[in-house]
Symmetry: C2
Subunit: 351 residues, 2 copies
């Protein structure tokens, strides 16, 4: 049994490494790739996705899971081994419904669509991106059909993000939220608009970069096990538990955009960086679901980042003259991740 | 025959895509990866190297080459198809001597060694790196032994860089060069030392970044099909012919270091970016040999970069006050590749 379980972990590890390699390629696409790199990148990503899928649904995987079924039934239902075997079985059964050719095509399409989205966004021409979006919808519908029959066409998609969740369970929740939130927003907007205490104006990139690095580090993002980069749209990606990347984007006329993005992504990253090392390279080595993940990112973005206590510490970093600070804090830190250092005049207490 | 050749191209393409994915992972390791990312990266690289090697020496490859042998013999010896089949056969025969386990181990070792080299370099402690270097030598010796018998233990290594070249052919050449170059250096150093016209002092990173981007673009590096990044040691890597990356390193007390590195790497990149698109994703889609490649990098670094004509254009970028220029040129360009723009006071004629 021990050998069989080790063999399963080995196979899991190989799948995880292939998915990690793909994640590095996607990260590079969004942070460093030149405009014309997209076609080649789509081919590479499509190949890696296929290789990972082939292993996930391989007969070998099926045999190992079968052989380990008696062991699983003897495990405590909350034990790591039980959960791993349950999740792998679930992946195996679900992924078996999806042809490898579909996996390749969808991976290639989204990589090309991303390149196209970047160009369409720059040119502010939705029409350029629309055909890609349509094709994505087509393939997404085809994806649901691999799981037919279903109550709602979104159910098979939702299941990938929130295992077991159904559209019919979510609708009443969202209906309720919408009603209550609308009331809340109306109550807030009926009151006088508060004075925007943050000075508008110019926030140089170097200063923002240093501030965002500082803030991420101060809330616990480990820069030896992760890095901050820039991208068109902020995201978090995990190559393995000791290499979690977050990105932000800087607007020189709006320093809050980057700050809240960084807090949000660092929230995701804190979740990933603090997963038990024993779960690395398995399907358990990530967030339990998208909902859990968003609860972490929004905790930091909204409950912490929009609190009075947070701003008591960081407000002064946004006010006062920046010109001297750029020279003091901006150098070097902009291009390398490195350790955060506190060189602001704020009261956060130093790096 | 046509179908067989297409199948071979397909297999070649898959091997090329796997090698490209590995190249992206190596590029990321040297330009963005956090300190603790090394172990996971070594596993990922080792897997990709094994998958590429397995395909290179697969029975399928052998069968395709065998089936295409009559076609090859009918091709003109300088035709692309002839050269492709010749090189693939050569790779197949050579790589078959190397066990896949060796390929995995060597790839993993060099990835770990790189991380260690970075730390040892930072700490200036060669002793930390020495065990890795020893192990690399051991594995390199083992590599040569896969090709025994040989005249000289370096021959199998040399053959990877300069196909067909032997150590015994190189020794007389280097002996001659050493004698003549020593004389040349003696003659030069006997003359009075020329005045170093470049001002020493502080060259801010933002200014150097803009200058290096500008110079690379001016000599023809295509920023839509490539990008400039920073790394501990400068290098060039090709993911495919439309995505060639170069790196440089910036020292604020020595602006020439980055400049000559960039010219050197852009020289390599010009070679790669100008290879015929039809050869992409084949073993022909790269430089003919390391010697040819170095001839291109050194042409730009030394014959162009150290010429009077070059400096007539770029000298003024290094002199005069920089403080105003940083604000004008440094913003944004430091973190994104983008198109080069000429905002210097030099006489290069604009972007």
């Amino acid at each position: 049994m021990k050998n069989t379980f080790a063999a399963l972990r080995e196979l899991c590890g190989e799948i995880a490494d292939l998915r990690s390699a793909a994640a590095v390629l996607e990260f590079d696409q969004q942070t460093a790739m030149p405009a014309n790199g997209g076609e080649g990148r789509a081919r590479q990503l499509s190949l890696l996705a296929r290789l990972a899928h082939e292993r996930t649904v391989s007969d070998r995987m099926g045999e190992l899971l079968e052989a380990l079924e008696p062991y699983r039934l003897n495990c405590a239902p909350e034990s790591d081994d039980f959960c791993l075997l349950r999740n792998l079985r679930r992946d195996f059964d679900r992924q078996r419904r999806i042809p490898s050719a579909y996996v390749s095509e969808f991976s290639s399409l989204t990589a090309l669509a991303f390149q196209n989205w970047m160009e369409a966004r720059e040119a502010d021409e939705f029409g350029k991106f629309a055909p890609y979006l349509e094709r994505i919808f087509d393939l997404r519908r085809a994806y649901s059909d691999f799981f037919a029959p279903y109550d709602h066409i979104y159910d098979p998609q939702l299941d990938d993000h929130e295992p077991g969740m159904k559209t019919r369970d979510l609708l009443p929740l969202f209906t309720h939220l919408r009603r209550e939130q609308t009331r809340l927003v109306e109550a807030i907007t009926a009151r006088p608009h508060p004075v925007d205490a943050l000075p508008s104006g110019h926030f140089p990139e170097a200063m923002q970069w240093a501030l965002n690095t500082e803030v991420a580090g101060r809330i616990g993002f480990d820069f030896r096990r992760g890095a901050l980069a820039r991208s068109e749209h902020p995201f978090t990606t995990t190559f393995h538990l000791d290499d979690v990347r977050i990105t932000t984007r800087l607007f020189e006329d709006n320093a809050l955009s980057a700050l809240f993005s960084t807090l949000h992504e660092a929230g995701h990253a804190l979740y990933e960086q603090n997963i038990a090392p024993a779960l690395d390279r398995t399907p358990l080595g990530t967030g339990a679901s998208l909902g859990w993940h968003e609860s972490q990112s929004r905790l930091w973005e909204n409950l912490v980042g929009r609190s009075r206590a947070f701003w008591r510490g960081f407000f002064s970093a946004f006010t006062g003259p920046f010109s001297r600070r750029i020279r003091r804090v901006g150098r070097g830190t902009m291009l390398r991740g490195g350790q955060p250092c506190c060189a602001f005049g704020c009261s956060c207490g130093g790096g």
